[in-house]
């Protein structure tokens, strides 16, 4: 099969960038979308042009590296599918395909289709963990967890941190990402101690990183390759509300003063 592909080309963070078009022929429908990109890059290399930079690694839908908006949708037309798991059979022969990077103020474009998602790491640093050291821990079966709760926590924990939710959101909000981590830990007994601080700290960080607010467009859920539910955003909002109504106590400050 053959396609006409329009790709965003931008040489660095300050470059203005533009769409460029290329024709590709002799593609197989069993080829993955990224294998098609490999073909394009081999062709460009052969012609003495610079290949298209794009993030990718595991190519099995779990590392969260790929970050392409394909024909206007994050990760392309197939629902609950990352770009690397998209196959050329999902496109018509002769199709025109538009490929752009994630577009969001908090995800600056680094080069071509590569963006800087380090803001996500900083949201996790604000509280997306259970404070812990390595060493002896209680016997897990001494704290039974209802399987339904463990499964729902796992639904939230399945977030791969790709950033499609931000790219999909008209506001560029990172609420689905933040909610998924907050809900994962907030539902489990191990995450209770820091539950409300976590919700508040992560949301505050999200806002200070320049992500927009949630207005229930639900595009994030629709384009999430892992199908993470916006119901988790409801949970986060409830926890956030409670966190802001609790009298703030600066426990850590007190500890330092001793």
């Amino acid at each position: 099969m053959r396609i006409k592909i329009h790709v965003w080309r931008q040489s660095n963070r300050t470059d203005r960038g533009e769409m460029k078009s290329y024709d590709l022929e002799g593609l197989s429908p069993d080829m993955s979308f990224l294998e098609m990109m490999d073909q394009l890059n081999e062709k460009l290399t052969g012609n003495g042009e610079e290949p298209v930079a794009f993030d990718h690694d595991c190519r099995e839908g779990v590392c969260g590296s790929c970050s392409m908006v394909i024909n206007g949708e994050a990760h392309g037309p197939k629902s609950e599918t990352t770009t690397c798991q998209l196959y050329m059979r999902h496109f018509e022969d002769g199709a025109e395909v538009f490929v752009e990077p994630w577009r969001a103020r908090s995800f600056p474009v680094v080069r071509d289709l590569v963006v800087d998602r380090s803001a996500f790491d900083r949201i996790i640093q604000a509280g997306g963990f259970v404070s812990n050291h390595s060493g002896p821990k209680p016997e897990p079966n001494s704290i039974p967890i209802e399987p339904g709760i463990a499964e729902t926590a796992l639904d939230a924990a399945s977030c791969i941190g790709c950033g499609a939710c931000v790219a999909a959101c008209p506001n560029g909000s990172a609420m689905l990402f933040t909610a998924a981590k907050s809900a994962h830990l907030g539902m489990l007994p191990q995450g209770q101690t820091e539950r409300f601080d976590r919700a508040k700290d992560m949301v505050d960080k999200m806002e200070s990183e320049g992500f927009g607010s949630c207005r229930n467009y639900a595009e994030c859920e629709a384009q999430c390759p892992k199908g993470i539910s916006i119901a988790f955003i409801g949970r986060l909002n409830a926890d956030y509300l409670k966190a802001t109504m609790i009298e703030p106590i600066d426990r850590r400050g007190k500890m330092h003063a001793q």
Binding site: N12, D30, A53, Q85, S134, Q190
Partner: protein
């Protein structure tokens, strides 16, 4: 000749680790922040090591080439993690896990290392649960288990088919906690390009920033390599595209011994390649073998759809040949049998290199919904890639390069033979011998990172003052210049072939000459072809772009250059190991039934290679293995 002191403690195996820990020197909490430790890689081993050392108060710098620490390839492990909790009351114990691992590795690992791994396995589950890893639970809320290949107990803990992801996110979260606490500085999109060694001691690394191309020097009191395995030397493997041997290879060229490089695990259940454009292979978890039955048609000319082939005309070769373990034989046995039936012309699918993995019987017994629920994301993944529904028609699978047991030689403290250089996780050679059992890689990475290295590294650090050498030392200047020269040389070749095309050719060479089954002739041929291809690379590489910018072709070319040297070492090791063991099948040495036939008299050792020059033969040093706790026995999965 390398001096290899394994530092394995004497005395009974059950007490070895405890006694050893009691005899280690420690660094006090007040002194720890003065010591700087560099960790290369942020997968399970790297992230857990960096987080644990950060929490102890060491001053840690962690580097990864991905854009976030959370993306390392540990994330793709599907099936589970072993621990001898004995929750099923089915006779499991530390000893049993030790026995299974040592037997599974075909007695080519250090037994006290293996015992320690089994001993620490239960604490890993406790640690992960305390971080909020949502393992599968039973109705009463207790942890659930399943079974994996090569064992007769149910000891594998899992989170659906995404256990690696959840464990890695646990370690990543712990790492981010330490980043927030300013104990760890995380450097993403950063690739280690060389190691700085002064007077036999590791002093730091040279790193390239993959976004800006800037090359920087980093001094440290110790360096930990957690840079994963080298399966991508075959081009096609289940590894992530970025996985490479570069950090390990740089260390090797600076004096670290490379152990058992030819030990490569070929995983039996991967989705077969569909064409020449194939960029990687996708694994289907071994856990599928719990309910899937493997078969091929008995008639090589079979044309019917799998569903229409009657039972009597199906060859369930694993069940017939290994009645006791059936479809759950260890990975190497399953992989070899698949290749053998396909070589006989019984294979299925367009290329003839595939076998069926059939869930019909399990669905008949347990119901289609129950089976689907158990393997939900795996079935989806399969359907997405192949456009076939495993509920309707059997999966087609074929072996693929998956995991590398070989790696940098380390002693019981996980230290290489170069002082101050450590290696953890898949990047070292330590615990899996000649074959790794399923669900044991996560276990080893986390045992190394959470529990072993944070203790043993103190023994080294406590013997030296902190910060003795800084980045203005001549050695840093010299190594940095070498790194720059190498990059400039690559860019100046201006030939006709992309790194991708040469990598693909190397992969085919390796699969043909150093793959599932090896012979003296094929290996010797490989040893001639690889240097020729390396020459082609250095004379005819086409590398677009420059080095002061993001240049993914340059990153790839640097890694391919190292694979082109490394492949030769693998063939050499496979040739010198004139026996079969575990994954390493030399066709000259097999039993009448086609099983690996060991030669314990001459080869019960670890082969450790020392770099002598790119075009010179490396020197082999042998670390003899002793088998006191568990005497050598035949590895038999038939009765």
């Amino acid at each position: 000749m390398l001096t290899l002191d394994s530092k394995v403690p004497s005395g009974p195996i059950q007490d070895a680790w405890t006694n050893h820990k009691n005899n280690l020197r420690l660094v006090g909490p007040k002194n720890r922040p003065q010591y700087k430790v560099i960790v290369i890689g942020s997968g399970l081993a790297g992230a857990s090591a960096a987080a644990s050392m950060g929490a102890m108060g060491y001053n840690v710098d962690c580097f990864c080439f991905q854009d976030s620490a959370r993306r390392a390839h540990s994330i793709a492990a599907q099936g589970g993690i072993n621990a001898s909790k004995n929750y099923r009351n089915d006779g499991d114990s530390t000893w049993r896990l030790f026995y299974d691992t040592q037997k599974g590795g075909d007695y080519r690992a250090r037994e006290k290392n293996v015992y320690r791994l089994a001993e620490l396995s239960t604490a890993i589950i406790d640690q992960a649960v305390s971080q909020g890893v949502p393992f599968a639970r039973e109705y009463g809320g207790k942890l659930a288990n399943r079974s994996f290949g090569g064992v007769l107990v149910e000891r594998t803990f899992y989170c659906r088919g995404e256990t690696g992801q959840q464990l890695l996110l646990g370690a990543y979260s712990a790492l981010q906690e330490q980043v927030a606490a300013k104990n760890v500085r995380m450097h993403t999109r950063s690739e280690m390009l060389d190691l700085v060694v002064v007077d036999g001691r590791t002093r730091g690394v040279i790193v390239r920033n993959l976004e800006t191309g800037k090359i920087t020097r980093h001094a440290a009191d110790a360096v930990v390599l957690a840079s994963g395995g080298y399966g991508n030397v075959y081009y096609l493997s289940t590894n992530a595209k970025g996985c490479n041997v570069t950090a390990n290879w740089r260390a090797y060229k600076r004096g670290a011994g490379f152990a058992n490089p030819s030990f490569v695990q070929i995983h039996p259940t991967s989705i077969p390649a569909s064409g020449d454009y194939q960029s990687k292979l996708t694994l289907m978890s071994e856990s599928l073998r719990n309910d899937g039955r493997i078969w091929v048609p008995r008639d090589p000319d079979e044309k019917r759809k799998p569903k229409d082939i009657p039972e009597a005309e199906r060859f369930y070769y694993l069940e017939e040949r290994y009645p006791r373990f059936g479809n759950l034989v260890p990975r190497d046995v399953a992989a070899r049998n698949a290749k053998e039936v396909c070589d006989k012309g019984l294979g299925v699918g367009p290329t003839g290199y595939g076998v069926y993995l059939d869930f019909a019987k399990a669905m008949e017994e347990k119901g289609a919904e129950a089976v689907k629920a158990k393997y939900a994301n795996l079935f989806e993944m399969y359907e997405r890639i192949t456009d076939d529904d495993p509920v309707e028609t059997p999966m087609r699978i074929y072996p693929a390069v998956h995991y590398t047991m070989g790696g940098l030689w380390v002693d019981y403290n996980l230290s290489t033979n170069v002082d101050g250089l450590y290696s953890v996780g898949e990047s070292n050679f330590a615990d899996h011998g000649a074959n790794r059992l399923g669900a044991s890689s996560l276990m080893q990475c986390l045992a190394d990172g959470y529990f072993v290295l944070p203790v043993t590294i103190g023994d080294y650090l406590s013997r030296h003052d902190a910060g003795e050498i800084t980045t203005d030392h001549d050695a840093f200047e010299k190594v940095e210049t070498e790194v720059r020269d190498r990059i400039n040389t690559l860019l100046k070749i201006k030939g006709d072939r992309s790194a991708q095309s040469i990598h693909r050719e190397l992969g085919k060479l390796m699969w043909e000459h150093c793959g599932i089954a090896r012979t003296k002739e094929s290996l010797m041929e490989g040893l001639e072809k690889i240097p020729a291809l390396r020459k082609e690379f250095w004379n005819n590489l086409r590398l677009p772009g420059g080095h002061q910018e993001m240049n993914q072709s340059l990153e790839h070319a640097g890694r391919v250059a190292d694979f082109l040297e490394f492949g030769e070492l693998m063939c050499r090791d496979a040739l010198l190991r004139d026996e079969s063991c575990g994954c390493h099948l030399r066709e000259e040495y097999q039993t009448e039934e086609g099983e690996a036939k060991r030669n314990d008299k001459d080869f019960a050792h670890v082969s450790v290679f020392e770099f002598k020059g790119v075009d010179d033969e490396p020197e082999l040093t042998k670390e003899p293995l002793s088998f006191e706790a568990l005497p050598l026995a035949d590895r038999n999965y038939k009765s």
